[in-house]
Subunit: 207 residues, 2 copies
Amino acid sequence: MFEQKGILFILSGPSGVGKGTVRERLFEQDTELKYSVSATTREARPGEEHGVHYFYKSHEEFESMIEQNELLEHAQYVNNYYGTPRAYVEEQLNLGNDVFLEIEVQGAMQVKENFPEGVFIFLFPPSLDELKNRIVNRGTESNDLVMNRLKEAKKEINMMSEYDYVVVNDDVNRAVSKVQAIITSEHCKRERIETEYKTILEDDLNA
Amino acid sequence: MFEQKGILFILSGPSGVGKGTVRERLFEQDTELKYSVSATTREARPGEEHGVHYFYKSHEEFESMIEQNELLEHAQYVNNYYGTPRAYVEEQLNLGNDVFLEIEVQGAMQVKENFPEGVFIFLFPPSLDELKNRIVNRGTESNDLVMNRLKEAKKEINMMSEYDYVVVNDDVNRAVSKVQAIITSEHCKRERIETEYKTILEDDLNA
């Protein structure tokens, strides 16, 4: 009766923050969540399946997807393209499945541009002291390099403003249960369900 | 390090929807949540404590609280006043405690006016069919009365628009865990923590 479209959740944050671990643990616990399957031009490795691990594309196909705006984000590593096909995400959402995407900050910002209705979760470093120590206490580095790293860290933290939620990764299990709480509560948001509930009620009452 | 102000959560919804049961079950599980202590002009019953069960006030004191806008909401039942003192709520929030208020729809709307930064949760009837059946199938009632009840139900459902979240009370445990998820995820909202996180970081990096 209360069927809802799925929601796209994007988990991102500075490199090294532990996005991959949080995502793995989350998928161990939530078997209904769909992981966003990426497209790539790299060759399938033994055991990998098209449509499960990746959608394997030729360079020409991939570039045509870029041109047709069929990707929520894409990037190039070494000589291969990687990207998130919009079609797969929308198909799953229309089936009522939530889709989960774990991605670097830059990719997340591309997704935000192409799919602003997604729910963006920023994974925050376990401790700011640690972050500072990592930056400042690399004794061998020049002052200039330290200053650059400080700037970079500040830039990354400032990206936080583009996100809907911030989860501190002080403990993987705690972070995972916060992400799960966000998923649950997003489905309870009034603006997502109001129209549908009211329509059902009107239909019911007029029946 | 990441200390946050508490949040006021308001659980409301049509009468008979099961607000009280959800609140009781929630408090069995979450011992850190503070229940909002009401003020009243009725006499303390044996075993009741001032500041625990109620803040006991004279009619004069209560009316002065109304005049001074010291109540987030109030109502009169029989010959007594009942209301939610703003001071208690704010004190708890400043201590970093979440405060929970379970209240009728009309009271919730008063709270919303006086404390819009609260998080408003609408508890939805277990099933709309049931609601419809309850309204239509009271065989003995006149058509006019049925029509009036239908209108009333529609009005109540329309109040939903004033809320942040809607939780269907199809199963008490499920409803409670949804409310808990909302509490957890509200604390992860970027706008609640951004300034603080950034300030801490700046302080850290400049130290």
